[in-house]
């Protein structure tokens, strides 16, 4: 008679929660620190600014969580997001589409970018790092080519900026964009925990060969996962453009690292197979608070990069330590 007994090491779930608790504690510490360091930091308008920044990084990080849990990486999300912003400008301003169509078109365009990533990775067999690095450059270049290197303004559609900035609660600054972010968090959490897509993200990241042997079409599901991450990129791009009432064709590089940092700080393993949406959201808040706090305490731009870079290194190193221990 075989017995499957209760014993052995700390279950993965508890060790994951410990990491989240640690991340949450760090968030509080950073918040308190900056509150003392700058009188401006803990004001409503600054906190709303942090939330808006966290919205864009956080939405990118939601899709990235799936990609990383499935054992992949997506470096194209930063410049991809910029390209999606440019595309919604093209659709609305150049082509005169109504706002809803311009928004939907740009989100689907993001999905297309993700689909191409997924295809390159699972059908052509290009390693995720290289495939999405290539896409990062392609998207960055396309943004400049399509826009003629100039920002696109939403002259015909001034209401487009409401998508991010409209105040949901009258009298309080609670932007619609943040509400959209909250809804997306719930959607992502449900998909990850309750659906087949989420299950296969974990199983592919945990043991891709075993998943294939179990009859799962791994290539198909990887394409779906990258495409879904692309949809999140599209949404983030649209919201970022709405926030500024203009599509800025430059930049975006570095945002992918912030999103990846958010995911890793939240306890998702770069090795794949482990992670959670809750963790990623704490991670996204940490990144947003840190970036904002360094700015309002007048830390020079160059030093901000140094600090955020170090945080990323520490988060990845902690991931390695966790894996060794497990």
């Amino acid at each position: 008679m075989t017995t499957i007994s209760l014993k052995n090491r700390i279950p993965a779930k508890i060790s994951g929660s410990l990491q989240q608790l640690f991340a949450f504690g760090s968030l509080i510490v950073i918040l308190v620190f900056f509150s003392f360091a700058s009188p401006y930091f803990f004001t409503t308008s600054n906190l709303v600014g942090i939330l808006m920044a966290a919205t864009v990084t956080g939405i990118l990080a939601l899709g990235t969580t799936f990609v990383i849990i499935a054992g992949g990486i997506d470096l194209s999300i930063g410049t991809g997001m910029i390209l999606c912003g440019v595309m919604t400008g093209v659709f609305q301003t150049y082509w005169g589409w109504p706002v809803w169509a311009g928004v939907l078109g740009a989100v689907l365009f993001g999905g297309l970018i993700g689909f191409v990533n997924g295809f390159n990775i699972s059908v052509l067999g290009i390693p995720p790092f290289i495939a999405t690095l290539g896409m990062m450059l392609v998207a960055s270049g396309l943004s400049l080519v399509i826009s003629g290197t100039k920002p696109i303004y939403f002259k015909e559609h001034p209401e487009f900026q409401l998508l991010m900035n409209y105040s949901v609660i009258p009298g309080m600054r609670f932007p619609l964009g943040v509400l959209i972010f909250l809804i997306l968090i719930v959607v992502a959490a449900v998909i990850l925990a309750k659906t087949i897509l989420g299950r296969y993200a974990y199983s592919i990241g945990s043991n891709e060969a075993a998943t294939e042997l179990s009859g799962v079409n791994v290539a198909k599901w990887k394409i779906i996962i990258y495409s879904m991450a692309g949809l999140f990129v599209g949404i983030a791009g649209v919201l970022a453009a709405s926030r500024l009432s203009s599509a800025q064709p430059v930049g975006g590089m570095g945002l992918e690292l912030e999103a990846i940092a958010a995911v890793v700080i939240g306890g998702t393993s770069l090795q794949g197979g482990k992670g959670s949406i809750v963790g990623t959201m704490i991670g996204a808040l940490i990144v947003a608070v840190l970036t904002n706090g360094l700015r309002v305490t007048a830390v020079p731009q160059e030093w901000q990069s140094v600090v955020v870079g170090c945080v990323i290194l520490v988060a990845v190193y902690m991931d390695i330590l966790r894996r060794k221990r497990a």
């Binding site: 008679m1 075989t2 017995t3 499957i4 007994s5 209760l6 052995n8 090491r9 279950p11 993965a12 309750k194 659906t195 087949i196 299950r199 974990y202 199983s203 990241g205 945990s206 043991n207 060969a209 075993a210 998943t211 294939e212 042997l213 179990s214 009859g215 799962v216 197979g273 482990k274 497990a326």
Partner: protein, 256 residues
């Protein structure tokens, strides 16, 4: 022992003339084999004889270069693990093919999740997983939600076997299930293997260990350098003869 008179019963699985090469290396040569329901057929052979390759051809992982495969007398073609599963063929691979980060239930249902609408039906899967483990006489506590990484070797093997029998499978093939196990765990797994056959399944057990082979098998099929050199009843041969078949491809007093 429940094996029946072979004349009375057509084999569940029959292989004929299977050839398989990897590049210039021919790994399987004209292999024939039959496997009957209610019996444990031991597939023996030296390292590199082609046992795993044969099993992977049956399981739809490697396409065979030529050859025929029959299930209950009718010819079938298997191109993927999924198609093999649809025919009732389940394979417990040498490396077990479990996802460490998933729990027991999630592993057992991987690739064949139960859903209600869009949502995974966890209670139903958990209940079925428990039922299967119980039917295999596996005593479980409230632990089917334990990640597989926290299980011992024997427990992992048990989960892999339970995963294979969850699907109304008719043929279960186990590739060296006891290779990495201690004495007690080996005995448990062999008991499980025997129970599967006694429940009417066709079972193929790949093993190096003569004690295992003689403990549970009804028939022995011996591969030597990719050729099937003998298929005999276990009661008709001795340890020494089987060892000779494995190491030299022939055995005195035993016509292949």
């Amino acid at each position: 022992m429940s094996w029946k008179d072979p004349l009375m019963q057509a084999p569940f699985l029959e292989l004929r003339g299977i050839n398989k090469s990897f590049g210039a290396v021919q790994v399987l040569r004209d292999v024939a084999m039959s496997v009957r329901a209610g019996e444990v057929t031991a597939l023996v052979g030296d390292n590199g004889a082609g046992k795993s390759t044969l099993v992977k051809c049956v399981g739809g992982i490697h396409p065979m270069d030529s050859g025929e495969m029959f299930i209950n007398g009718s010819e079938v073609h298997v191109h993927s693990p999924r198609e093999a599963a649809q025919l009732g063929i389940e394979i417990v691979y040498q490396d077990l093919a479990l996802c460490d980060n998933l729990d027991i239930v999630q592993n057992m249902f991987l690739g064949r999740e139960r859903t209600s609408g869009w949502v995974l039906n966890e209670p139903e899967m958990e209940q079925l997983a428990r039922k299967t483990l119980d039917s295999l006489a596996v005593r479980t506590v409230s632990t089917v939600r334990q990640p597989v990484s926290s299980l011992s070797g024997g427990q992992r093997q048990t989960v892999a076997i339970a995963k294979a029998v969850l699907w109304n499978s008719k043929l279960v093939i186990l590739d060296e299930p006891t290779a990495a196990l201690g004495v007690a765990q080996t005995a448990q797994v062999l008991e499980l293997v025997r129970a599967l056959a006694d429940n009417g399944l066709a079972v193929v057990l790949i093993s190096h260990n003569m004690n295992d082979v003689f403990a549970v098998s009804d028939r022995i099929a011996a591969l030597y350098l990719g050729q099937m050199v003998a298929q005999v009843k276990t009661t008709d041969v001795t340890h020494a003869q089987v060892v000779e078949l494995i190491t030299s491809g022939k055995s005195e007093g035993q016509q292949a």
